[in-house]
């Protein structure tokens, strides 16, 4: 059996990609520093997972042929397995060459992360010639598995992946699972299945076998669509009753959640909440009105500093020591004003100039807070300490008890979500939508473009200011270093990865990114990622822009904008696969107004 030139080229391409990704992961230090964390005891560490995940994927992709309009789907057979194996072999050889080079020459002068320990890890603690065999063999096997995946029936393949994903999630999020088990008095189970923060192998196998029989549904977006359709097919009275019931359930859940999570997880979740509020605000500016604001952190800083100056007894010049509840409206007002001040000059600019100017404003504000010039008011680099927290009855809510802060975060998030939702579906929301799609046409239809853009800026500023007020009360102190450009960028990544223009998307983005990877100054659940967090954020941003610019959970309108031709193709595929069932194709649904 021979490969065609096309197949050979694809195999080579994917083996080089997989090999280089593995070499990069090793050389950048991820492999070694993640190796300390086992995820499945005693066989798999996070380091090896980060090293090898690409190989099965490459093996799969190397033999993956997209189903195209007018072309028969290619037959599947032994060639898939062979190509997968070859891809894995190629990748393994590249890794082996890297290991030999790293072993022979002392590269530590230049590449600080290439250590003898790395070489030992990559050769599986074996001596070099024998160990190299494993270095090549394991990627080959993984690549073969990736290629062989094509041979499985669709449903079985999907179930396998789902089960595997679940096992990894339960293993990686050991902190959450063990904590919840502790809280519901199942300590014994937690101690049984986890050893050294890793899932025991028998527990992993058991979980895998338990999930395997569950039929996996089609992709997530379709699932959301299906639920939505079902929701709208029932009659209105019933629908309202259902919504009320689910709202109550969610509320009870939210009230119980902090108690269930304990303080460490509540802390993480409170940070997620803060970023979610800002994400929702930036979503209005970027996702709805289409203005790329890179200095969004400025409003967060303004909110936090206003509260700090007004409430702290250590505020240098002006210390009225107001209650947080009085300071909050002032903070929101000041944020709104700064929104007007920054927004007015920039909103007429071209999109990319607007991005750079807002970035400039963000940096100006941070440097001013930092400067000696304004230190009599804002404390300079020392910041403002001793912010008293939120008085509530006889107690004070502050970061010392993350559970109670979490309730405030929930409340703020709900308000922010409600504000964005109702604005999005109001007259101004439709104006933003029109504006983003085509400014000239929007203006011709009577949208006051300048006004609409400024409104977006102000709403965004107010939400960030509210997050800032909460942040100041939570931390008990503010420093200029909390408001670096990085924060703006990370909020942007949250919005983009989650799905611009979609509230649920932003929420998912915040939970996944801030909760797991961690924010700029706050650790997430996977504290191991700390060093490489920003590397991963950068890579995610590039990947999302190249492959899925609409985000994980896209707003429907934006998905249509970015994938018009693919939607047509899907429609064609659907028709050709189910010729008899006449279900509405996606190109027809696009004609409906967005609801």
């Amino acid at each position: 059996m021979t490969l065609t030139t096309r197949e050979a080229r694809k195999t080579l391409r994917w083996s080089v990609i997989a090999g280089l990704v593995m070499v990069f992961t090793s050389a950048v230090g991820m492999m070694e520093s993640f190796d300390d964390r086992l995820i499945i005891y005693p066989v798999l560490s996070l380091g090896y997972l980060m090293l090898f995940w690409i190989v099965p994927l490459a093996g799969f992709q190397a033999t993956h042929l997209p189903r195209l309009e007018g072309i028969e789907p290619p037959g599947k057979g032994l060639s898939n397995v062979l190509i997968g194996a070859l891809t894995g072999l190629g990748a393994g050889v590249i890794l082996a060459v890297f290991v030999v080079v790293a072993d022979r020459f002392d590269l530590r002068e230049v590449f600080v992360s290439i250590s003898p320990r790395l070489v030992r890890l990559l050769t599986f603690e074996d001596t070099l010639p024998g160990g190299l065999l494993a270095t090549v063999l394991i990627p080959t096997l993984l690549g073969t598995a990736g290629g062989a995946f094509h041979l499985l029936r669709d449903n079985l393949g999907r179930r396998l992946v789902l089960a595997l994903e679940w096992v990894l999630v339960v293993a990686i999020l050991e902190g959450v699972v063990a904590q919840i088990l502790r809280q519901i008095r199942l300590d014994a189970l937690g101690e049984r299945i986890y050893t050294q923060r890793a899932l025991e192998w028998f527990a992993a196998v058991a979980l895998f076998l338990a999930i395997l029989p569950i039929p996996a549904s089609r992709t997530g977006t379709n699932q959301v669509e299906r639920i939505r359709q079902r929701l709208f097919s029932i009659d209105p009275a019933q629908r309202i009753r259902n919504s009320v019931v689910s709202a109550v359930v969610i509320l009870v859940f939210l009230i119980l959640l902090p108690q269930l999570l304990g303080s460490l997880l509540s802390e993480v979740l409170a940070n997620v909440g803060l970023f979610l509020i800002m994400g929702l605000g930036l979503n209005i500016v970027v996702g709805l009105a289409g203005m790329l604001d890179l200095g969004y952190v400025a409003f967060f800083a303004v909110g936090a500093y206003t509260v700090a100056v007004l409430t702290s007894s250590l505020s240098p010049r002006f210390a009225p020591e107001l209650s947080w509840w009085l300071a909050l409206p002032v903070a929101l007002l000041v944020s709104a004003l700064s929104g007007v001040m920054i927004g007015t000059p920039v909103i007429r600019m071209r999109g990319d100039y607007l991005a750079i100017v807002t970035l400039g404003f963000g940096e100006i504000i941070r440097i001013l807070f930092l400067s000696d010039w304004l230190s009599p008011i804002f404390g300079g680099a020392q910041g403002i300490l001793d912010i008293p927290g939120i008085p509530l009855g006889v107690t004070r809510v502050s970061g010392i008890s993350p559970e109670s802060i979490l309730y405030f975060a929930f409340a703020f998030v709900l308000i922010a979500a409600w504000v964005s939702w109702s604005l999005q579906h109001s007259r101004i929301g439709r104006a933003w939508n029109a504006l983003r799609e085509d400014e000239t046409v929007a203006a011709a239809m009577g949208v006051n473009t300048v006004r609409a853009k400024l409104d977006a800026f102000i709403v965004g500023a107010i939400l960030a200011g509210g997050a800032g007020a909460l942040f100041a009360a939570k931390l008990g102190s503010v420093f200029p270093s909390s408001f670096e450009l990085l924060v703006s960028i990370i909020i942007l990544v949250v919005v983009i990865v989650g799905g611009m223009g979609n509230i649920v998307g932003v929420a998912v983005g915040a939970v996944v990114l801030i909760g797991i990877l961690g924010g700029p100054n706050v650790p997430g659940l996977m504290a191991e990622f700390a060093e490489f967090k920003l590397l991963i954020y950068g890579a995610l941003l590039i990947f999302m822009m190249l492959r899925r610019p609409e985000g994980l959970i896209p707003a429907r309108a934006r998905y249509r904008e970015l994938h018009a031709d693919e939607a047509d193709q899907d429609a064609w595929l659907d028709k050709s696969i189910h010729p008899i069932q006449s279900r509405p194709s996606s190109s027809e649904t696009t004609a409906e107004p967005d609801c």
């Binding site: 990069f24 050389a27 002068e109 600019m349 990319d352 001013l368 010039w373 300048v450 941003l541 190249l546």
Partner: protein
């Protein structure tokens, strides 16, 4: 709206005049910096500005042909400076650096230039080419991602510590007389090298065949393609040329400041973009002049304007001056001082 902008303009001008007047009064009273201090400030500003100008050329060329801000260009510059360090460090260890300094610095220059060029070209191939047809903000967001990715890859690969170049020989560091002024040798060298590279770039773009195709693609991609120009290759060429200039800037930076770390490229990158806008984006002589102007203004301007207003520790506010310059230029003269040159579709 308009009245507000006029108000901002008026306030900016008033602050400027008030500050300058204050500084002059201070100077007359003998309170301000001495004449030598002013001279050093101006020379340092020009040297810094020459580097901004070199980096700005890369922004301007990419904006000219593709119409988006290549946010990662600062990292291209950093990559050059960083790779040069390893060569310089090696040459220092084998005592080649102090014995044959000129040869050594040429080797370092070659390394930086090649690395920067390579990084710029790879970034174009991997990330920007697939996005040619996307809305304008998509490549911009991608370039932010690339910027972070390169920064933190370098942090992981080469360590987070600041890497110090070996010192230049004393003969270069001493002050030398130039046009009746005593100027530090390194700064003079930086200015001269930067001006020569800008001149060469200008000749390249104006006189060579590749330069002509770059200009044609910047004017109108479709028509250029119809005229038989390979648009893809031309775009790669303009990224490469921008990378070369960033590499030169990287070496000059290390001569001047010696320290290089993974985050070195970020601020100079943003400021160089400011310089490019200041001179009119897409306009190559504009980028050079914009760089020189911004460098001088940020060094001298903080002293000249802010000190006159009685603000303490003005050197902290250097970046504020640069960013304010950016904001003011974009508000009041977004086409830059010398007018922008954009393709027909970008002007729309």
């Amino acid at each position: 709206m308009d009245s507000l902008l006029w108000g901002v303009r008026l306030i900016a001008i008033l602050v400027l005049i008030w500050g300058v007047a204050g500084t002059i009064v201070q100077g007359l009273n003998g309170a301000g910096p001495s004449a030598e201090a002013w001279r050093d400030l101006v020379v340092a500003g020009i040297a810094q500005g020459a580097m901004y100008g070199l980096i700005a050329l890369g922004y301007s060329m990419v904006y000219g042909v593709l119409g988006f801000i290549n946010f990662a260009h600062g990292e291209v510059f950093m990559a050059g400076a960083m790779s040069g360090f390893f060569v310089a460090n090696y040459l220092w260890q084998v005592h080649f650096w102090d014995n044959y300094f000129v040869l050594a610095i040429l080797l370092v220059l070659l390394t930086s230039v090649l690395t920067s060029m390579l990084v710029a070209v790879i970034v174009e191939r991997v990330a920007y080419r697939p996005l040619r047809a996307s809305p304008r903000l998509v490549p911009l967001i991608t370039s932010i991602g690339i910027s972070f990715f390169i920064q933190y890859s370098f942090a992981g690969l080469f360590g987070v510590a600041v890497k110090n170049y070996p010192p230049a020989p004393d003969s270069l560091r001493n002050r030398i007389g130039f046009l009746g002024l005593e100027i530090e040798g390194t700064k003079l060298a930086v200015i001269v090298v930067a001006l020569i590279s800008m001149g060469l770039l200008y000749l390249f773009v104006e006189k060579t065949r590749t330069g002509r195709s770059i200009r044609a693609v910047a004017e109108d991609k479709e028509i250029a393609a119809l005229m038989g120009i390979n648009v893809d290759r031309t775009i790669v060429a303009s990224f490469a040329v921008g990378g070369v200039m960033a590499g030169v800037a990287g070496t000059l930076w290390s001569l001047l400041f010696r320290g290089v770390a993974f985050h070195t490229g970020f601020l100079p990158g943003i400021k160089a973009f400011t310089a490019a806008v200041l001179g009119g984006i897409g306009n190559l002589p504009g980028a050079m002049v914009g760089g020189l102007f911004l460098g001088t203004f940020e060094g001298v301007g903080s002293q000249l304007v802010l000190a006159g207003l009685g603000i303490p520790a003005v050197s902290q506010l250097k970046d504020v001056v640069a960013f304010t310059a950016l904001v003011l230029v974009l508000i009041f003269r977004p086409t830059g001082l010398f007018g922008e040159r954009l393709s027909s579709e970008d002007r729309a």
